[in-house]
């Protein structure tokens, strides 16, 4: 009440608030910094170190890549629940291929993974756009299908660290530029997608389709084609993530990335991406993934029992979403009452 009255009389406050509405990322950043502060006070040492932050970044690299894919899908009002299964299937197929051909260049393995992912993504896209199946149903179906294919492919078998060629294992861990490749690849993908969403026609069309599909159609945007594209992109990025996953964890199992889809939805949602489509930024999504990474890391370092970690993580996700939505609603009412 007090805040809203201030909003209408003092013009300077709403300006800051407007900034907050415009840059929701500030709120997430604040929350993250608060958490880092609390964690570093509790631990005194061991948290605020370069090594530890490199650890956090390593842990969220794959989540960032797939989270960005998921974000693009969510912006078009869709959802891709098959990401975990796509990662698992591609990881398995590429790992088997690399075991058969150990001398294969690992960069080729990445490309192979992306090609396989593209096919799996295009199957999703075809079912959704040509078959008129709602995305949540289509990808729920392919979640089961791709996971089943992984099992069928490997016959229930897995590839372990000893069988996997060194070149594949080193793909994500190598540090030719001083930083692990995995982090570099994640950063490169982030920059690429940032550029794509902000400066290209197709990227802008994704937002247009998500904000108002009918208006987008009237404006001459080929809505179906854009929706097709985001699922193929999601497949390609999942394929990439699949190879990286196999490389980072030095194994490919039938349960690789099982349940990962929920994390990839959580990261954009925590990062302020609207689950109903139309809005969301690369920066917000990356901060969301970073926040999840910091939470996980802090819980480990503060030595909270691993059995409590999932509960605390879930609670913090809920809290972040509740605070974000409540604050945003407050600010918006203030904004309209203040007549700005």
């Amino acid at each position: 009440m007090i805040a809203s009255r201030q909003g209408s009389t003092v013009p300077k406050v709403p300006n800051i608030m407007l900034l907050l509405i415009r840059f929701r990322e500030v709120g997430i950043l604040f929350f993250t910094l608060l958490l880092i502060l609390v964690a570093s006070i509790i631990t005194k040492q061991g948290f605020l170190t370069v090594d530890n932050f490199q650890d956090i970044l390593l842990n969220i690299s794959i989540l960032t890549i797939v989270g960005l894919a998921q974000m693009m899908v969510i912006i078009t009002r869709g959802i891709d629940l098959s990401v975990g299964s796509t990662i698992g299937l591609v990881a398995m197929m590429v790992a088997f291929t690399m075991v058969a051909f150990p001398d294969l260049n690992p960069v080729l393995a990445l490309l192979l993974g992306m090609a396989l992912g593209a096919v799996l993504g295009s199957i999703n896209a075809a079912i959704i756009t040509w078959g008129n199946v709602p995305p949540i149903i289509a990808t729920l179906g392919t979640l089961s299908i791709y996971r089943g294919l992984t099992f069928l492919y490997s016959n229930g078998d897995w590839i372990n660290s000893f069988e996997m060629p060194k070149s594949l294992r080193q793909l994500s861990k190598g540090t030719p530029l001083g930083v692990p490749n995995l982090i570099l690849i994640a950063v490169a993908i982030t920059i690429l997608i940032f550029y794509f969403l902000r400066f290209t026609q197709a990227g802008r069309d994704i937002y247009a389709v998500g904000s108002n599909p009918d208006a987008a159609k009237v404006a001459g945007i080929r809505v179906e084609r854009i929706i097709f594209m985001v699922y193929v992109l999601s497949g390609i990025l999942c394929g990439l993530a699949g190879v990286l996953w196999a490389s980072r964890f030095e194994s490919a199992q039938t349960n690789t990335a099982l349940g990962f889809e929920l994390q990839t939805v959580a990261a954009p949602v925590v990062g302020g991406v609207n689950i109903f489509g139309g809005s969301g930024t690369v920066l917000g999504m990356v901060l969301g993934a970073f926040l999840l990474g910091v939470i996980n890391n802090a819980l480990t370092i503060v030595q909270i029992s691993p059995f409590w970690q999932l509960a605390v993580q879930g609670l913090l996700i809920l809290l972040a979403v509740i605070v974000d939505s409540t604050v945003m609603r407050r600010l918006k009412t203030m904004n309209t009452e203040g007549g700005v």
């Binding site: 096919v119 295009s122 069988e163 689950i275 809920l318």
Partner: protein
């Protein structure tokens, strides 16, 4: 295109009723077909012992599906059901291990389930957060609480009277007690859905929430009740599952939420809300049970069975639009474009290449490697 509005809507209603009936008819035909195929595949299929054992595996799924029908008809979704199940079963196990009477523990688990649903409902109806986001959060939170309660231990040693819930049969027959429980609950849930004001409200909310609100439907309260029912039934399903296993581990029922949603949608309940019948949902459960049992008899692993269930789910939703496309094949020539045809061709070629690579790389790499540490 008709002269006046009312006949048109009536016509539409008649059409949609017919469409729904046709859906249930299709499910019945499929159920009969699968039963026939199963009985041909294995001579043991129709044996009472096999049917009784097989039926038990799907009762928890059915119990969780009943409120999910309500949730989805109102246009919402509940991803937290399996986690709620795990949390409540874990609480029950923890209390029992600490010397509480098992039936007191059961009551506590049911209460916790209702409270878990209440939290979901409040966040969705009062804080106005999307159901997908809320239940995604509680999906992690509730499962986490299950681990927090039991850690890496398993609760076991339940009394026989409790295990009867999941393992017992009615009198001298082979009919599982849990089947009776599910049928009674299904009749109650079906009656409430189709014959009461509350049920009509659910459809009204799913069809147009704003309109329902303006018509005086207590939308918020109904949403909260629906999610509380979902939590309560998940707790009950957890109790039945724990009784069937004779033990509780914190990971009990992991991943079941997707199976529940699949069964519900396959039953003809629109994911967009507003339509669906309880009979359709029960037929879908029966169909899934039959398909899985048949494949189990042929010793096909669960994950491979998932392929068939996934295909069934997608095809069930695609079928109407495929039918429409064929009925309207003359329209194709008007919409035909070279670019479109090229894209279709590209996808088909992509899938073909994928299949070839799938088989080839498997044969090149797989066979000898699998022998190293197979299941033998």
């Amino acid at each position: 295109m008709t002269a006046s509005a009312p006949p048109a809507t009536q016509n539409q209603m008649a059409l949609s009723i017919r469409a729904v009936l046709r859906w249930e008819l299709l499910l019945i035909v499929l159920v009969i077909a699968v039963t026939y195929i199963n009985s041909r595949l294995s001579p043991y299929f129709l044996e009472g012992r096999n049917l009784s054992r097989a039926a038990r595996d799907f009762m928890e799924l059915g119990i969780m599906m009943l409120p999910m029908v309500y949730v989805i008809i109102t246009g919402n979704i509940d991803l937290s059901v399996a986690s709620t199940m795990g949390m409540c079963a874990s609480l029950m196990g923890l209390l029992f291990m600490n010397g509480t009477n098992i039936w007191v523990a059961v009551a506590a688990a049911l209460l916790l389930g209702a409270l878990a649903g209440l939290l979901n409902g409040l966040l969705i109806a009062k804080v106005k957060l999307p159901a997908l986001v809320v239940t995604l959060g509680t999906f992690a939170f509730y499962r986490g609480m299950a681990y927090a309660m039991l850690g890496d231990q398993a609760a076991r040693g339940y009394p026989a009277s409790f295990n009867y819930l999941g393992q017992g049969s009615l009198g001298a027959t082979r009919i599982p007690f849990s089947l009776l429980l599910l049928l009674v609950l299904a009749i109650i849930f079906g009656f409430v859905l189709h014959k009461t004001t509350f049920g009509r409200y659910l459809f009204a909310i799913g069809n147009n929430e704003q309109a329902a609100r303006y018509s005086g439907v207590p939308v918020d309260r109904i949403k909260i009740i629906v999610f509380m029912l979902s939590g309560l039934m998940s707790a009950l399903a957890g109790i039945v599952l724990a009784a069937r296993f004779g033990s509780t581990r914190p990971d009990i029922g992991t991943g079941l939420e997707l199976a529940v949603i699949t069964a519900t949608v396959l039953g003809g309940i629109s994911i967009f809300g507003g339509t669906g019948t309880m009979i359709g949902a029960m037929l879908s459960l029966l169909l899934i049970g039959l398909v899985r049992t048949g494949m189990s008899l042929k010793t096909i692993q669960g994950q491979v069975q998932d392929i068939v269930i996934g295909l069934l789910l997608i095809l069930s939703v695609m079928l109407p639009s495929i039918g429409r496309a064929f009925a309207n094949w003359r329209g194709w020539s008007q919409h035909f474009s070279v670019a479109g045809a090229v894209r279709v061709l590209l996808v088909i070629v992509g899938i073909a290449l994928f299949v070839v690579f799938f088989l080839w790389s498997r044969s090149v790499a797989g066979v000898s490697e699998i022998a190293v540490h197979g299941f033998l």
